[in-house]
Symmetry: C2
Subunit: 317 residues, 2 copies
């Protein structure tokens, strides 16, 4: 596998600028006091379409544009990547079709449609979604873009690191959620070139710890029957993301759902912003062992803010 | 009553700058599409201590500092003003005591204590709180600062208008929550001098509509038995705030709790930020009649973000 060099990462980061937000970095005196660290929260919940996925989707669409031609871009996703690809395609005039599971959240379905993308529904299991998508790509001679395991996507995600490094210099650690590993890989590559002293720590839910087990075993162990509130992190590493994490990740930590929920509440209460459960695992990873990081300068990636309030509010119909 | 002139408002706005945040103004394409307006959300949920109250409290402490001398500043409040005064006093080295009802929320009690203020508990009814506070002021020869009905406080709140006008020019309307009327009065005075064409619209919950009834009757009708989720808006207008609203407010609108909750959810989902129910009534006021404001440029004041998640999360102990 060919990983992108520093120049490519900076160039791609520039290319996608007109299409994405430069998200803010938040700090909190009270969370600093609570943890004994100096924390810098990178707020991808404010990103276009509500998650970091817009970065990679946009970069993939721009890089593949000539190969795509007038084909329809097609992916499978239950949520954040569906919205990101639909958004990106609408911005540069491409047709987009997304295969989504029948049980996808209504707000995400509406969001994908609002960008003019077509939705084809599949069964709810990951392999049903993937098989359906394969059929649709063949039937329509479409252009498939994978939701996480694609080095072009990952290069787009590196723009998140480029911005964070410019807003918070000399970080000792960065805590990043690990699902398919795309965001973590992007963060790793960005820091590798621009701030190599910074150690990147991946965080996974205990109920979907395939990356933890895969890195320990030295081979990919796919996630079966994930059981966690962090719905964006139920997927498995791919070959590319496994390779990058295996080579460069400093450490991987797993956290319980209870700690994820507590962390999410702290973010809501103290930072006054909405972070989804999957985005909150990064703070959970720090809270699990915060005494190990006393006085350190730490980046916390809040990867997204797409929540289903129906699951959260009391007395909701 | 002597209202502050333009120079005083700008001077006080400058004076408090080192102690407060210049809060951001958020926009949302999806909420613009939903309402047919161009909306500018002034995010006081990100203000120091989580609400606009820090502005007025800080200004009062700075203006009264010589009179206060080495006395303890004392107020009564169940929430946002208690935190704001405790914060302000800690910043300029003053002693602070707050009379809080026994049923005050734990997180607010902890926050007040974290700023080093003393808490004295009273009964839960407003008059119990006020009577207790009066006793404490006498016993200790303290310096009393009223939580809303004070022109110096109001002058501090005007700094919110000064910032909004600089970030969003030529607003047609500004929607602002009305509780004790302090914030609305501050917004009114700021716009009166700096953007006089802008019309200010006050919003009240139906279950605490004393300002609506008072303005209709031409005299103060105190709020008895308020019944609304917007806990920060259960108080009554005072003589000063009644006079300012009576003279300058363009219109007052009441909204149901259901519309307040729907508006709060929209803010959480679309803006990805935490607005408390009291802060969300301003959007509710627009949603009630949004067809009346098509294509208008509208400021929406989100007054605070201090929520009690225990009341909101499902399955919470």
């Amino acid at each position: 596998m060919q990983i992108p060099d520093k120049e490519k990462i900076l160039l791609r980061s520039d290319n996608i600028k007109p299409y994405i937000y430069r998200t803010p970095v938040f700090t909190s005196d009270s969370l600093n006091r609570l943890t004994g660290c100096r924390l810098f929260f990178k707020c991808e919940n404010f990103q276009k379409t509500g998650s970091f996925k817009a970065r990679g989707a946009m970069n993939a669409l721009l890089e593949y544009k000539n190969s795509i031609g007038d084909k329809t871009v097609i992916t499978h996703s239950s949520g954040n990547f569906a919205q990101a690809l639909a958004y990106g395609a609408s911005r540069i005039g491409l047709k987009c079709t997304v295969v989504m599971p029948q049980n996808a959240v209504e707000s995400k379905i509406n969001s994908v449609r609002s960008y003019g993308a077509e939705i084809i529904f599949s069964g709810n299991l990951p392999h049903e979604r993937e098989n359906k998508c394969e059929d649709v790509v063949k039937d329509r001679n479409g252009f498939f873009i994978h939701p996480s395991n694609d080095i072009v996507l990952i290069t787009g995600h590196s723009s998140c690191a480029v911005e964070l490094i410019s807003d918070a210099e000399d970080l000792d650690y960065v805590f990043v959620p690990v699902g398919g590993g795309g965001l973590a890989s992007g963060i790793i590559l960005g820091f590798k070139y621009l701030s190599p002293e910074t150690k990147i720590i991946g965080i996974e839910p205990e109920g979907a710890d395939d990356a933890f087990r895969s890195l320990k075993a030295g081979k990919i162990i796919p996630q079966t029957n994930p059981d966690t509130i962090a719905d964006g992190l139920r997927t498995s590493l791919g070959e590319i993301t496994f390779e990058i994490l295996k080579t460069y990740l400093h450490e991987i930590i797993t956290v319980s759902d209870q700690l994820i929920i507590n962390s999410m509440k702290l973010i809501w209460e103290r930072l006054k912003i909405i972070s989804e459960p999957s985005g909150s695992v990064s703070l959970a990873g720090l809270l699990k062992n915060s005494d190990r990081y006393l006085n350190k300068k730490i980046g916390i990636i809040l990867s997204g803010g797409n929540i289903n309030l129906k699951n959260i509010f009391r007395n909701e119909n």
